[in-house]
Symmetry: C2
Subunit: 131 residues, 2 copies
DNA sequence: CTGAATGCAAAGCCTTTGCATACGG
DNA sequence: CCGTATGCAAAGGCTTTGCATTCAG
């Protein structure tokens, strides 16, 4: 993997986020540093970084992909108001065994490579705006 | 909600599936019964049915939406080979309390309306093809 | 009758891709 | 130098939408 300035800035920009933005957000932010960067380059790099296991691509919310600078599998929260994705934490610091939650019979014959747990609702910022 | 023949056939067709197809699959199947139905009508009806809580729209796999005739929240399995979505079952027949799995502190201030648990890997059909 | 639903086609969005050019190692 | 990465623009795939027409209640 070649170290280009674009790749470096994209990764650093993503790492400044506590939420998990889409490619478009990263694009407009990175453009303030590299005005000539293209959206295609942002997509290609986020893809490369995710495939290398340096970041994580999240399929949440349905409209567009979200990117998480932390590649470890952990639960997420999706706010249906502001459509932002944020982190949750496993109880006791580690992912539960799936067999503790899911009926063994329904898992028969399957090879499990990963999983995702996403809760959805309204975040505290959006709840506050109701008042 | 008006009962049109299109809506009826779309729902019945979805209910014949044990997997959770996309709108395109439903479209081509329903067209064998109603050759003049449009893809737009399929999308609109799946949307109406999901909003009424009669079916469920799943955001899984990233490429397109999947529809589940069962509106109850339950875990799913996504096969990365054939890209099909199938059902899993909660252990003991019911969803675990999220607080049993997720650290309470990270849930603070959030209003939780729902959740989704998706495991991914290779289904038994696809594993069998490896041999 | 009257508004909700349909068919058709166009438009929208996010994402990917082809190609010539630039550049990192 | 060589092959990866970029910029640009076009194309792709899924989904939504505008509009005139049809149809359920």
């Amino acid at each position: 993997m070649r170290t280009t300035i674009q790749r470096k800035v994209i990764l650093e920009q993503l790492q400044t986020h506590v939420d998990h933005p889409g490619a478009d957000t990263i694009y407009s932010e990175v453009r303030q540093v590299l005005p000539r960067i293209s959206l295609g380059t942002v997509y290609r790099n986020l893809d490369v970084l995710a495939n290398k296991g340096i970041i994580q691509r999240l399929e949440v919310g349905g409209d567009h992909a979200h990117f998480d600078p932390n590649p470890e599998i952990h639960p997420h929260f999706f706010c249906t108001r502001c459509r932002r994705v944020s982190d949750l934490k496993w109880k006791n610091g580690q992912s539960p065994a799936w067999t503790d939650i899911i009926e063994a019979e329904s898992l028969e014959g399957l090879v499990i490579d990963g999983g995702s747990l996403v809760l959805e609702g309204v975040c505290s910022d959006c709840s506050a705006k109701d008042k």
